[in-house]
């Protein structure tokens, strides 16, 4: 029997790796994958917390997060493709036209 806290530890490590990737990578696609990583970590935390509290609503919340994440990926990737068609780059460092 594995404690819910151990699952949460794994989730925390995943979240940290995702946040780190978000900060150190420049490729918009990889940054997007890091967002997915962090969303997954939060989902794992919610399911563990739901199990620790004997409550099924944790899983319902994860279901909704999955739906919103899917919508976010669709729109986000469409934006990345639109930017790429205009600028021929997926690097976020080169998107600085609005710099003052």
């Amino acid at each position: 029997m594995v404690e819910p806290g151990l699952y949460m530890t794994v989730a925390a490590v995943l979240f940290f790796i995702g946040a780190l990737g978000m900060l150190v990578r420049r490729n918009a696609l990889v940054m997007f994958m890091c967002i997915e990583l962090m969303l997954n970590a939060v989902n794992l935390t919610l399911i563990s917390a739901g199990r620790a509290m004997n409550d099924l609503n944790g899983q319902v919340a994860v279901f909704f997060i999955l739906v919103v994440a899917a919508a976010e990926v669709v729109v986000g990737l469409a934006i990345i493709v639109a930017i790429f068609r205009r600028r021929s780059t997926a690097s976020v460092d080169e998107l600085n036209e609005m710099r003052g």
Binding site: M1, A12, F16, I17, L44, A49, M53, N57, Q59, V81
Partner: protein
């Protein structure tokens, strides 16, 4: 015993996949690392009796989202390497320092104090209460959360329409 074994195995696989996402130069490798993490997390869901959510995770994430990622990677091209020169003088080191400090504090809390992971947790776990079969989740979804469920349906429609609008957009002058 079996749960501990599978947990350790899948935790290592999930973290290895996550590290691959961050360190891989080629975005395709990042996507494959993400796939490994998604599958491992799905197994961790099953270990916690979240069967329906695990199935949705495989179908939606590993099936649809990752395919979309791979499509876009192929479309954008994988040969463009990121620039390696640093525009931020000290921020990256600060991130590692801060992250290390947070991990140390969290580990100290967990190991040396009587830290409560979930403050409202009950003492005894009742597996029957959180057995996430389709029936159980659907009952909650279509009674307590039916409004939110309909709102997500609307959200998905809007997202699909928005993606199509973005994909169809052409500048007039070109």
């Amino acid at each position: 015993m079996v749960e501990s074994f599978v947990f350790v195995l899948m935790a290592i696989a999930a973290i290895a996949g996550a590290v691959t996402v961050v360190v891989a130069r080629n975005p395709v490798y990042s996507a494959i690392g993400l796939l490994g993490t998604l599958f491992s997390v799905a197994v961790l869901y099953v270990l916690q009796l979240a069967h329906f959510v695990a199935a949705v995770q495989i179908i939606v994430y590993a099936g649809a989202v990752l395919t979309l990622f791979l499509f876009v990677i192929m479309l954008i091209g994988v040969d463009k390497d990121e620039t390696r020169e640093e525009n931020l003088p000290f921020q990256r080191k600060a991130v590692f320092g801060l992250g290390g400090a947070i991990i140390l504090v969290a580990a100290g809390l967990a190991l040396f104090t009587d830290f409560e992971w979930v403050p409202a947790a009950s003492n005894a776990l009742i597996p029957e209460a959180t057995n996430g079969t389709i029936e159980a989740v659907a009952e909650s979804l279509f009674t307590d959360w039916v409004l939110a469920f309909e709102a997500t349906a609307l959200l998905l429609t809007i997202a699909a329409a928005g993606a199509i609008a973005l994909a169809h957009y052409r500048r007039r002058d070109t």
